[in-house]
């Protein structure tokens, strides 16, 4: 066997421990009163509403039995989004299911929330959109120029600037006949001044009147990007085609219930981990000790993948099934080590030398671990593809309506990859290295008979 060099054990173990520490506690700096997060730790994990409490609701546009169009749903989504931000809810998830006319919103409790009323919040989110065009930039009772019913439609479109030849985006408005005459009067009176556009009590745009518009066809220009333009058009449309959003599903979990669930899971996780470590130490001795370091590394990989430790991996909402996925993959990590160490023990009992036994044991156990993990990875991938945001069954069921199964697939996938890196890679490297030390060459330490 090519024995790994002696310092390898310490280097690998140190790297794992540093990684585990940073992924658990993060790296933070202090700048005056501000805490700066350089690397996100476990405390930055975004917990799903089944753990931390929160609100989930499903809205459907009330279109009297007629299927809502994609534009209508986009408008409704734009409105809900705007209102979420207005209510200072930034940590939300919002999905649209175009096949079944559903808009699903999910948001957790804020940490310091005490007086939040979820029923009111949901009612505000689903209220009929109130669109107004107002003289100037003030929200008063008397300065309304146009109302939602005066607007026929709004579209985002592309034009070419006459003088520069560049492509620009703008929002085109088409007004009703009543709206046309009102707007003609207003644009004549307010030339060079501002007519602001409001959704409920939020100003969404404040264009300046450049010309008198008498044909009911106006355009709003001014340095829009493509997404800005379609966003504004969606919002205006929501007010132009007012339909009520009906709340079909609604669930809340109080923050106190959520907090105690999280405490319990932390304690249970710690106890479970300590018990498993003890068992590994008692049954497998020195390799058991090595496997504990590898398991810590595997758990750190799981934490890092959900907390957004690496800047290029987005943070992930952690739910109860997500935790189940981690438990399963850690279980498989333990299993990978058990399979290998049992094989090493077998070889020692068959009379092999220590190095020979380690090499043979590693080789014999690899494909079992490989096949076991690959099949589980297959299952995880299917779950992610079926229950993910874009999924292979979307023709049948529409985009994902629930994130809980997806998060199970995600943590299971990450955990299994972590198992290959830690349970197979790092664990074997460390064992080969540590077996080079004279004091660690007693076969008893590896489960064989004492010398």
């Amino acid at each position: 066997m090519k024995r790994a060099k002696k310092p390898v054990f310490f280097i690998v173990a140190l790297l794992i421990l540093v990684f585990a520490y940073t992924s658990l506690f993060g790296v933070h700096g202090q700048n005056g009163d501000n805490r700066i997060t350089y690397i996100k730790g476990a405390s930055d994990i975004r917990w799903g509403i089944d753990i931390n409490g929160g609100v989930e609701a499903t809205f459907s546009p009330d279109t009297q039995g007629v299927k809502a169009t994609e534009d209508q749903l986009n408008s409704a989504k734009a409105i809900v989004e705007l209102r979420l931000v207005n209510q200072n809810i930034t940590d939300y998830e919002l999905y649209v299911d175009y096949n079944q006319d559903h808009i699903i919103v999910r948001f957790p409790w804020k940490n310091d929330e005490t007086t939040f009323d979820p029923e009111n919040a949901i009612q505000e989110l689903s209220a009929t959109a109130l669109l107004t065009f107002r003289e100037g930039t003030e929200y008063t009772d008397s300065n309304i120029v146009l109302q939602g019913s005066d607007v026929k439609s709004a579209t985002a479109r592309m034009t070419q600037n006459q003088s520069t030849g560049q492509t620009e985006y703008e929002v085109g408005l088409e007004l009703s006949s009543e709206g046309t005459s009102k707007f003609a009067e207003a644009t004549e009176r307010l030339q060079g001044q501002t007519i602001s556009i409001w959704m409920d009590d939020t100003m969404i745009s404040a264009p300046t009147v450049n010309a008198v518009i008498t044909d009911g066809k106006a355009s709003i220009t001014g340095g829009f990007t493509a997404s800005d333009a379609s966003d504004l058009a969606n919002k205006i449309n929501a007010g132009a085609l007012p339909f009520k959003l009906v709340t079909t599903n609604f669930s809340t979990v109080s923050p106190t219930l959520g907090a105690s669930a999280l405490d319990a899971m932390t304690i249970a996780g710690l106890i479970g981990f300590i018990l498993v470590c003890l068992m590994m130490l008692i049954v497998y001795r020195l390799p058991g000790f090595v496997s504990i370091i590898a398991l810590i590394g595997q758990m750190a990989i799981c934490f890092a993948a959900v907390s957004g430790y690496l800047p290029f991996i987005n943070s992930f909402t952690m739910t109860l099934p997500g935790i189940a996925g981690i438990i399963l993959s850690i279980g498989m990590g333990v299993d990978a080590n058990i399979i290998t160490f049992t094989r090493i023990k077998e070889e020692l009992n068959a009379g092999k030398t220590l190095d020979g036994a380690i090499q043979k044991g590693n080789a014999n156990s690899f494909w079992a671990i490989f096949d076991g993990n690959i099949t589980t990875i297959l299952v995880a991938l299917i779950l992610m593809m079926v229950f993910g945001p874009t999924n292979i069954l979307s023709m049948l069921f529409g985009p994902s309506t629930t994130g809980s199964v997806y998060s199970f697939g995600y943590t299971l996938l990450v955990g299994n990859i972590g198992n290959f890196i830690m349970g197979v890679g790092a664990s074997r490297l460390m064992l080969k290295s540590i077996s080079g030390f004279k004091c660690f060459r007693n076969k008893w330490l590896y489960g064989g008979a004492a010398k």
Binding site: E119, S254, S260, M265, A324, I327, L328, D371, F408
Partner: protein
């Protein structure tokens, strides 16, 4: 080191019998109790409030019925140590609405207002509420079933490819039968303990699928290796028995460590009184045991029984030809 030498294949009738008996008992329970679908899947509404002081079940039932116009069933849970202390809101009441329709926000607000009006000192507060439209729940359930089906097909293909040497597709199908066995027993666990089929059920089933499959693959891997070592002369029964015995230590320790970890979750969940955790951990403990059992006592012996059956058929066919 101990080496085991159990005759798994010879006693296969006993093992299949045990499984069938357990499944039959589960089925009987299922017929008696029926299946409780959580409102997540069936549609419907539940609200849980915390309150302080003392209220009666009939009283709440009447208030809610008047406010919402729906039939309800009310369950009160009082914390014995603080039940008479009106300052601590440690008691809870859960209200289930009849039927599978969701309730509207307005109804929910009307209920809260009515409760506050009749019992202004009780400090009613929503702990949990959930109201689900029946069509959405059903489509989620169907989607889960399709996902599992796709997974099964892919697994048979993968196992068929990787274990070609030992008759991969057969091995794959036997592994799937063992998995179905596990899913059924987990399902019956929910039925026997009167737990509604919900998110936890999905999570447990998925976990046990992965777990039991891994167990089975480990044994198949050993069969694949032993086929090489023992040569083509060894009978399927010898081959599988040897393989299961050789992997037995590993099977026991792995299952034990998973069981210990989940038992810790169960105990802590019970101490904290978290039903969402215990309804997840309890069937998972059952699932770990069953997943281990099915890999050892079902998948392997079933695989042997299939091959023996095929061999016999071939022999009788050959015998017929030579006549």
């Amino acid at each position: 080191m101990k080496t085991f030498n159990f005759q798994f294949c010879e006693k296969k009738k006993l093992f299949f019998g045990i499984s069938l008996a357990v499944l039959a008992i589960g089925l009987i329970f299922n017929i008696i109790f029926g299946t409780q679908l959580d409102i997540q899947f069936s549609g419907g509404a539940v609200i849980k409030y915390s309150y302080s002081g003392s209220i009666t079940q009939e009283d709440v039932e009447k208030i809610v019925k008047d406010a919402s116009g729906k039939d309800v069933s009310v369950r009160i849970h009082e914390d014995m140590s603080t039940v008479n202390d009106p300052t601590i809101a440690n008691n809870s009441v859960s209200i289930s609405f009849a039927g599978t329709d969701s309730i509207s926000l307005e109804q929910q607000q009307a209920i809260a207002a009515a409760l506050d009006e009749k019992h202004p000192d009780s400090k009613f507060e929503v702990i949990e509420s959930s109201s689900v439209n029946p069509t959405m729940g059903r489509s989620f359930l169907l989607k889960c079933a399709i996902a599992i089906l796709i997974a099964f097909v892919l697994l048979v293909v993968y196992v068929g490819f990787r274990f070609k040497k030992i008759g991969g597709v057969t091995a794959g199908i036997m592994a799937i039968i063992a998995l179905l066995h596990d899913v059924l027993i987990v399902y019956f666990t929910f039925v026997v303990f009167r737990m509604p089929i919900n998110d936890s059920f999905m999570a447990v089933v998925l976990t046990i699928l992965g777990y039991s499959l891994n167990n089975t693959i480990i044994i198949y891997d050993r069969i694949r290796e032993n086929r090489r070592l023992m040569g083509p002369k060894a009978t399927y029964a010898q081959l599988v028995d040897t393989s299961i015995n050789q992997t037995l230590t590993r099977s026991i320790f792995t299952s034990l460590s998973t069981f210990i970890a989940i038992a810790a979750v169960f105990v802590v969940g019970t101490v904290y009184g978290l039903t969402s955790v215990t309804t997840f951990a309890l069937p998972m403990m059952v699932g770990v045991v069953v997943g281990c059992y099915s890999s050892i006592f079902i998948a392997g012996p079933l695989y042997v029984a299939w091959h023996d059956h095929k061999d016999k058929k071939r022999e009788s066919a050959q015998a017929a030809e030579t006549k």
